[in-house]
């Protein structure tokens, strides 16, 4: 069957054009910016080579932001996946009203980052503290103490995101053949065994997807960061004051827009990209190896 190249071009064209203009070209443009000293407004721009990169690796707040983002990603990936998986198990079990529960768990995902952040800021700072104060447990909010702020952010993100990941697991669980499960039961495997030894390996593909999505999502976290904590509270790290919950994207935004050092911000985002690519490649490759053919 001969395909008309002209039609193919027409069909493929708009998306490819949009992708190139909106993502690909700006990406390369961004790399070029990172090698200059542009600040977003000035007209006298000079080429500075890798100076921005060097400065970045030596700056304490970038280092801190990077590490804290890694920590947040680690915590968040575990929390989201575990919660989502458990919810998926619940929602595919024999409980009545599972459709209702499934919808209910997904609803938080409809709330956008900014609104989410402000709502939960209220929850943490005002609501929870007044409840704990009445119970005599003190009144420190989780997001104003540097030790718990990252966990606090992760809790909010889990609340919002787990429902979404849960759906991925549900799709995976529903596509596993019943026979394998029944065989396991006949062989005398208890519930826990069945889930861990049989079910999880069979939906390994779903895990690959969910891990990829959660890692990428955690690394790129911005809206929630701004609205919930705005980077605060401040803390001391390596002898310098830093904003203890300022993830990478917020640092980049501050560098680019608040202090108008656009080129440096751009350099940071290039590094963010490279790290993300490396992580994703490793994760997807490892994941693909473990997948089981149905």
């Amino acid at each position: 069957m001969k395909r008309s190249k002209a039609w193919d071009a027409v069909f493929l064209g708009p998306s490819l054009l949009a992708l190139t203009l909106v993502v690909i070209l700006p990406f390369f443009q961004g790399i070029i910016y990172s090698l200059t000293n542009w600040n977003g407004v000035r007209t006298d721009v000079t080429f500075v080579g890798f100076a921005n990169y060097r400065e970045m690796f030596q700056s304490v707040d970038f280092l801190y932001s990077f590490l804290i983002t890694l920590l947040y990603t680690a915590i968040n990936v575990v929390l989201v996946n575990v919660v989502a998986f458990l919810l998926a198990l619940l929602v595919t079990s024999q409980v009545k009203g599972r459709n209702l529960y499934r919808a209910a768990f997904f609803v938080p995902n409809l709330i956008g980052g900014i609104v989410l952040g402000y709502t939960w800021q209220f929850m943490f700072n005002v609501f929870f503290t007044s409840v704990t104060a009445q119970l005599g447990l003190g009144a420190t909010s989780m997001i104003t103490s540097r030790d718990t702020v990252i966990l606090g952010m992760s809790i909010v993100n889990t609340w919002q995101y787990a429902g979404y990941i849960m759906l991925i697991f549900v799709a995976g669980i529903q596509s596993t053949p019943v026979e394998v499960m029944e065989a396991a039961t006949v062989d005398g495997a208890g519930y826990f065994r069945r889930v861990t030894r049989v079910l999880i390996p069979m939906i390994a593909n779903a895990f690959t997807v969910s891990l990829f999505l959660t890692i990428v999502n955690s690394f790129k976290m911005f809206d929630l960061n701004v609205a919930l904590t705005n980077g605060g509270p401040s803390a001391r790290f390596m002898g310098q004051v830093v904003n203890s919950s300022q993830l990478l994207t917020l640092t980049i935004y501050n560098k680019s827009i608040t202090t108008k050092e656009l080129a440096k911000g751009q350099a940071m985002s290039v590094v963010l990209f490279i790290v993300l690519v490396v992580f994703s490649l490793i994760q997807v490759t490892l994941g693909k190896r473990r997948e089981v053919e149905a």
Binding site: G40, V41, T43, Q121, N125, A139, S141, I143, T144, L228, T229, N230, G231, G232, P233, S234, A235, R236, Q240, V241, V242, N243, N254, I257, T258, T259, K260
Partner: protein, 464 residues
């Protein structure tokens, strides 16, 4: 670009350059064009009310009237300003003023940059000092010839002495206090002019908390996440930069930018901040929002408050009925501190890339603010500001504003110079320093504070 709706008119020689084009060749004055992005301005040399303008993409057709955009950065006055703009638009034929405001926590500077990138820099916008001027200096208009310059000394001047910024208001602060509560505590505000006396008073009031029905002596906030970092990072830091000096003495600020700190002064200042932080409500201090900080004072849960006169309208909205006033910030014992901190923090500038007609309309709008009754009423009564122009004799009604007017008349006040720091320093560098100190303001914390500020000065010097 010629379109069926907008045929290209022929070009005309001229030797004046303005926004219609460079000197040499440009379009005849009668041509109606919209710029290539379908921008807002109808570039007519003579406004013709009644002659329709071809609509740009996605906008409604209008008659050839001028629409001025004003981007406001003070959320407290946004409603008042909006009403005033409507009043002016109704009153003035052919001109509409459209006001856009930014919210309390949002980033005015970031949004302004985004507008600039989108080629939508407003006709009138706000700069806040040298840092902002450095960014926008290619976009401001010379206002030296305006009449209102005779009424004020606070207009913003560029390095060559040309006036480019219209002072929006005089603002200022001191250490605010509740007159009734202070009297009840048996403390005379007139005595609180040195550090030791203030410390004594704080200790006394702290011991009387139950009697006075308060939670803490002072309502102070310095929280990054609460969005109150500027209270400490900008205003309180100005005590170090300008307290006790002559009104126009910027030496400390200039030295700071060059990497130098005056050690003794800095140490005194740090001790003073510790005093303030020690006697504050700790929750409000470390996590409080603007509302939290004001509420503590308004509900009479704190005797003192560290805020500026711009909170007058908010206090009124909170039904505050008690009398309140300012004392100075006595941060050491080396002199008596009686002055308040006065400054014009924001300046309206006129975008110099707009048409001469629009620029003139903008200038007229500013003049109207200064010279008309409605302008005075808006500035003083509606917006609760203290105007920077001596011809406006209307007295403000808010307690803090009244204190500023008195101080202004009395003299001996101090300048506020956080605007001399590079753009964004307050938000990105000073904010965390004070936030950390708010969490730990022990003696060790004081050492850190001094060290952090010293290091910051060196950082700023390296950046120059």
């Amino acid at each position: 670009m010629a379109t069926p709706l907008n045929p290209l008119p022929e070009r005309v020689k001229t030797d004046k350059a303005d926004e219609n084009g460079p000197a040499g060749v440009r379009l005849p004055p009668s041509a109606e064009t919209t710029n290539r992005q379908g921008g807002k301005h109808a570039q007519t040399a003579v406004p013709h009310p009644g002659r329709p303008v071809h609509p740009g993409p996605g906008r409604r057709p209008r008659f050839a009237e001028i629409e001025l955009t004003l981007y406001n950065n003070k959320v407290e006055i946004s409603e008042a300003l909006q009403n005033f703009a409507k009043l002016y638009s109704d009153k003035t034929e052919g001109v509409t003023v459209k006001v856009e405001s930014v919210g309390g926590g949002a980033d005015y500077s970031g949004n302004l940059t985004a507008k600039h990138t989108a080629d939508q820099l407003p006709d009138l916008f706000v700069i806040e000092g040298d840092g902002d001027y450095g960014l926008w200096k290619d976009y401001v208009t010379d206002l030296s010839g305006e009449k209102w310059n005779e009424e004020t000394t606070l207009a913003y001047k560029d390095p060559e002495g040309k006036v480019v910024g219209f002072p929006v208001a005089i603002e200022g602060f001191g250490l605010g206090y509740n007159v009734e509560l202070l009297k009840k505590a048996g403390v005379d505000p007139a005595e609180l002019t040195t550090y030791s006396k203030l410390e004594e008073a704080f200790k006394k009031i702290d011991g009387m908390k139950a009697e006075l029905g308060i939670d803490s002596v002072l309502s102070m906030a310095a929280s990054v996440s609460g969005g109150t970092w500027w209270v400490a990072g900008h205003h309180n830091f100005s005590v170090y930069l300008g307290g006790g000096l002559e009104f126009t003495d910027t030496s400390v600020a200039d030295k700071f930018n060059k990497g130098e700190v005056e050690e003794e002064r800095l140490n005194d200042y740090a001790k003073y901040v510790k005093l303030l932080f020690d006697y504050s409500d700790q929750t409000v201090l470390a996590t409080g929002t603007y509302d939290n900080q004001l509420a503590a004072f308004a509900n009479q849960k704190a005797v003192f408050i560290h805020q500026g006169n711009w909170i007058d309208p908010s206090l009124k909205a909170m039904n505050v009925a008690f009398e309140y006033d300012y004392i100075s910030h006595p941060f050491n014992d080396k002199q008596e501190f009686k002055g308040l901190y006065l400054f014009a923090p924001s300046f309206y500038v006129i975008n110099n890339k707009i048409s001469p007609e629009k620029a003139q309309a903008a200038k007229d709008f500013l003049s109207f603010l200064v010279y008309s009754e409605e302008g005075a009423d808006y500035m003083v009564n509606q917006a609760g500001m203290v105007p920077a122009f001596k011809n406006v004799t209307l007295q403000p009604s808010g307690g803090f504003s009244k204190a500023l007017v008195r101080a202004n008349a009395a003299g001996g006040n101090y300048g506020v110079y956080f605007g001399k720091l590079p753009a964004g320093t307050g938000q990105s560098k000073l904010a965390p320093i004070f936030d950390v100190f708010a969490q730990d303001h022990s003696d060790e914390g004081v050492t850190f504070l001094v060290a952090d500020l010293t290091k910051l000065a060196q950082e700023l010097a390296a950046q120059q």
